[in-house]
């Protein structure tokens, strides 16, 4: 029985889960750091508890504190969302041992998949194709670097270094030439140690021109493990996805079926329960290779929800309560696209930005879904990941979905903080995106020297005129007025005035 759920997360995914709990008739509990006290997700929970501590480690990653709150609040389940503790097997285990239902797969499955090197080995054993490469188990810096150097000659260049405990592009480096290898390995290890406390990295052949295609799986305790078709998430910047869609434009029924079977085999191999995603690289020749399995709900789950009609988070809640999934056979309809709205400067190598959301007016109308963790008046701070919201559209065809996404992005107004809105909008006009021939290196290929907005002189003139008229008449849109803190002096990002490249 599940009747009261603690959501061990923040931002838009906490909102998503809290709303699902509400709809399922479950009581909900939010936990929040002091700097999140006025965040939207705190408002959506039935109860909320302040986390002691100033850093992420002391708050959203503090297992003991979170468990104590869970016990005191009398919750019978914990949903970890994504990021934070979602793939921490030790936490899943501690939760289970405290007699609280973990909404996700068992600790063993998390462990086997969470360590990317173990996952590769497990998948090889289960007959799931993995990317050619080598695992490096050495933990000592010097020995590891030596082993990496030796392995690199067998894997060949270009190659990818990936943190075994990694995710989200952290601790990942593409290496084109042998002479860059050691610098990249040191940097990857440093980032991996900082982020995960584990510097082990492994090597994979860099398969350029491939698509990132992933399969959503669901498994319940009643013997069913199913897949919900694929998502394509090839469009990435800094190894992070920004534009995701379902179905994949170039998918065939044959490949979908083979990939779906491989994904179900991967899940079954680790006795999976709940929602998970098996990521593959799909080569132009139709070959595909296991990349990793994310043992949690994923950022881009909405595109699958929109084409399949399955409420994945709601199914997570059902599965955790021991009920069978409610969804029947896979039935895909139309096309869905998601873009991630980041507070970042796309024209300055996607550097995160901060500031007030003085105006935050999302688009509206048919076929649009907004999963947001923020609303107008909020402040974007440097404390967390700069993803503000996800905009998802659905339409009967891919072409119509792209048209709808263009319209939606044109309507979306965010003022006060630099965002990637315009970058996303221009992505929709890229021939590769229109044709559906995106691959993981597209952004670097299209904009090797960085992206810049294509505003015409006339449009900039119009905007300058607007600013001048507004200044002259002392107005700005009344209902979207001042930032909340007067002490924000809001200069243009100081980087703007420097013509500086960021690698």
């Amino acid at each position: 029985m599940v009747s009261k759920v603690l959501v061990a997360n923040r931002g838009e995914i906490a909102c998503r889960i809290l709303r699902a709990c509400n709809e399922a008739g479950l009581a909900s509990v939010a936990i929040y750091a002091a700097n999140d006290a006025s965040s939207l997700f705190v408002e959506l929970a039935d109860e909320s508890f302040l986390l002691d501590g100033d850093t992420i480690t002391d708050t959203y990653l503090h297992q003991a504190q979170i468990l104590d709150i869970a016990k005191n609040a009398g919750v019978d389940a914990i949903h970890p969302g994504f990021g934070f503790l979602s793939e921490r097997a030790d936490f899943a285990r501690a939760v289970t041992e405290a007699g609280i239902q973990w909404i996700g797969p068992g600790a063993n499955a998390i462990e086997k998949m969470g360590d990317k090197m173990t996952a590769r080995i497990t998948m090889r054993a289960a007959g799931v194709p993995v990317i050619p490469g080598e695992e490096i188990e050495e933990t000592d810096e010097d020995l590891a670097l030596q082993a990496i150097e030796q392995a690199s000659t067998r894997v060949g260049f270009p190659l990818l270094l990936k943190a075994s405990s990694g995710g989200g592009g952290k601790g990942m480096r593409a290496v084109e030439h042998p002479e860059e290898l050691l610098d990249a390995a040191r940097s990857a290890r440093r980032e991996a140690i900082a982020a995960f406390g584990d510097g082990r990295v492994y090597l994979e052949r860099l398969l350029t021109g491939s698509k990132h295609v992933e399969i959503q799986v669901l498994a319940d305790r009643h013997g069913r493990t199913i897949h919900l078709g694929e998502r394509e998430c090839s469009v990435q910047r800094r190894h992070q996805k920004v534009f995701e869609e379902a179905p994949c434009a170039t998918m065939t029924e044959e490949i979908r079926s083979a990939m779906g079977k491989a994904a179900v085999a991967a899940a079954t191999a680790v006795d999976y329960e709940g929602a998970g995603t098996v990521e593959f690289l799909l080569a132009p020749n139709g070959e595909f290779f296991f990349l990793e399995m994310n043992t949690r709900i994923q950022v881009e789950h909405p595109v699958t929800e929109m084409v399949t009609g399955v409420d994945i988070v709601r199914e997570q809640l059902r599965i955790a309560a021991g009920q069978p999934m409610s969804c029947g056979d896979l039935q895909m309809r139309g096309h869905a696209i998601e873009v991630r709205l980041y507070a970042e400067d796309a024209s300055n190598n996607f550097l995160p930005a901060i500031g007030p959301l003085s105006v935050f007016v999302p688009p509206e109308g048919p076929g649009i879904r907004l999963d947001t963790g923020v609303r107008q008046g909020d402040e974007v701070t440097p404390n967390y990941d700069p993803m503000l919201a996800k905009l998802i559209v659905w339409a009967p065809s891919r072409e119509e979905a792209l048209q709808r996404m263009r319209r939606s992005l044109d309507e979306f107004v965010v003022l006060g903080t630099t965002t990637n809105l315009r970058f996303l909008r221009e992505l929709c006009d890229v021939p590769d995106v229109i044709e559906g021939t995106t691959d993981t290196t597209m952004i670097d290929r299209l904009w090797p020297n960085g992206w810049n907005p294509n505003a015409s002189i006339e449009v900039e003139d119009g905007a300058l005129m607007a600013a001048a008229v507004a200044e002259s008449s002392g107005l700005h849109r009344q209902s979207h007025s001042s930032p909340q803190s007067d002490d924000f002096s809001g200069p243009v990002s100081p980087f703007r005035t420097l013509s500086r490249r960021y690698p």
Binding site: L415, E458, L464, M465, L475, R477, G490, Y502
Partner: protein
């Protein structure tokens, strides 16, 4: 009415004229709606509404699907700015300092490595020159806009 704004391309002087309710900038026209929205009519025949917000000294403008921010430069204010200063793009921690005072550097050379938002950021030299000041050491916290180093640029 004259205003000066700092844009991506540099400083721009905007001198507005006014005729009754209509604002005039060259061949462009603008009107203010009763609810404070701005309608812009461009000389090329297109028109549209602009949404604006002021944050500190900066005007944010959304127009035709584009978002701009223009720092307003007070008339007569010092124009020095931070052209020669190398400032922290966001709050974070200094991971490494790779140069010393007096050192000559090339354009694009890494001067400092910061950690912010859980990622590494490198501070690069915008041009050739020599380092004149270093304000932070590895391990120190920096605020957004903190001047990290100064250099004499050889343009």
């Amino acid at each position: 009415m004259e205003h000066m704004f700092r844009t991506r391309g540099g400083s721009v002087d905007v001198t507005l004229a006014r005729s009754d309710d209509v604002w005039i900038l060259g061949e462009h026209r603008a009107t203010v709606e009763s609810d404070g929205r701005l309608k812009i009519h461009l000389s090329n025949g297109t028109s549209g509404f602009a949404t604006v917000a002021k944050v500190g000294d900066c005007w944010w403008v959304h127009f035709k699907g584009h978002t701009f921010n223009f720092e307003r430069i007070e008339p007569g204010a010092s124009q020095s700015g931070d052209e020669g200063g190398l400032t922290a793009p966001m709050p974070g921690k200094v991971l490494q300092v790779l140069v010393e005072v007096g050192q000559t550097v090339n354009a694009g050379e890494t001067l400092m490595v910061l950690e912010a938002m859980k990622m590494e950021h490198r501070i690069l030299a915008a041009s050739q020159g020599s380092i004149t000041e270093i304000h932070f050491a590895a391990g120190e916290q920096v605020q957004q806009g903190s001047v990290l180093l100064a250099m004499d640029e050889e343009d």
